[in-house]
Amino acid sequence: MKTLHEIEDIERYLLDQLEPQSRVLFEARLLVDPILKIRVQWQRKIHSIVRRSGRRQLKTELERIHRQLFVDPSRSQFQQKILQLFSK
């Protein structure tokens, strides 16, 4: 549980959710605790990786919508309109 609490503290720090006082305390701990400092870096990396993964997921959804709009026969008017733009 101790680890999970630390992860929670780091998250609050990264997401800027700490009260000013707690923030000062946390920053003081960072100065003297190199392991905590590395853990903060890793957790920041995780946030950035999750964001990257979220983007991929969103792009997959957009690809699906794109296919849907460009194969569905009931949308042929839409398709024609777009394809005409590129026919010149």
Binding site: W42, K45, R52, S53, G54, R56, Q57, L58, L69, F78
Partner: protein, 183 residues
């Protein structure tokens, strides 16, 4: 524990799918028109539109941003910036109004240095990645996350989130010991 839950991401996608389709239908022709006028291909239009869509989504979700104009017009504005970036086109050749000029794109979006690590963590910890995306990328309300992932309480959803971070951290730690230039 995460209950056996098939295709969570698709479930979320279905929920927001309707709004996405109608925005796609309304905005894609405008972006495609811009790309076509500047000599781009249908594929260019699609790529630029998808990036613009993701950038808008992130602005709406992370920055609680409310555009003063329609989302469609905003997408066109982002697309112009992406075009200039992609083809190193002189920005004076792309006419922009004041609102469009004010749009800034974060450099972080174009950094793909973490792609391999992302793929690895998606593969080894799919469920954790889905849960963390719901929290950090889609910013879903706790109650909704609880429902979608089948947790008994919001507390257990949060605990699982921190366990997932711990798990990922251990993987990253392991990797960083193998490659010195990692951290």
């Amino acid at each position: 524990m995460i209950a056996p839950e098939p295709k969570i991401s698709i479930k979320v996608a279905e929920e927001r799918g309707h709004g996405f389709v109608s925005l796609y239908e309304d905005a894609f022709p405008m972006v495609a028109g811009f790309v076509a006028r500047n000599g781009g291909t249908f594929q260019d239009a699609k790529d630029i539109f998808h990036d613009a869509f993701v950038i808008l989504y992130e602005k709406l979700v992370f920055e609680s941003f409310t555009p003063e104009i329609t989302e469609e017009a905003y997408l066109v504005g982002i697309a112009k910036h992406l075009w200039i970036r992609k083809f190193k086109d002189d920005d004076r050749k792309i006419p922009m109004d004041q609102m469009e000029e004010g749009i800034s794109l974060s450099e972080e979006y174009f950094d793909d240095s973490e792609n391999r690590l992302t793929s690895m963590l998606e593969m080894t910890g799919r469920k954790c990645m889905e849960l963390l995306r719901a929290f950090y990328y889609d910013n879903l309300p706790l109650q909704k996350i609880r429902r979608l992932f089948g947790f008994s309480s919001v507390h257990s959803a949060s605990v699982q989130k921190f366990k997932c971070i711990e798990k990922m951290r251990n993987v990253i730690q392991q990797k960083s010991m193998n490659y010195e230039d990692f951290a």
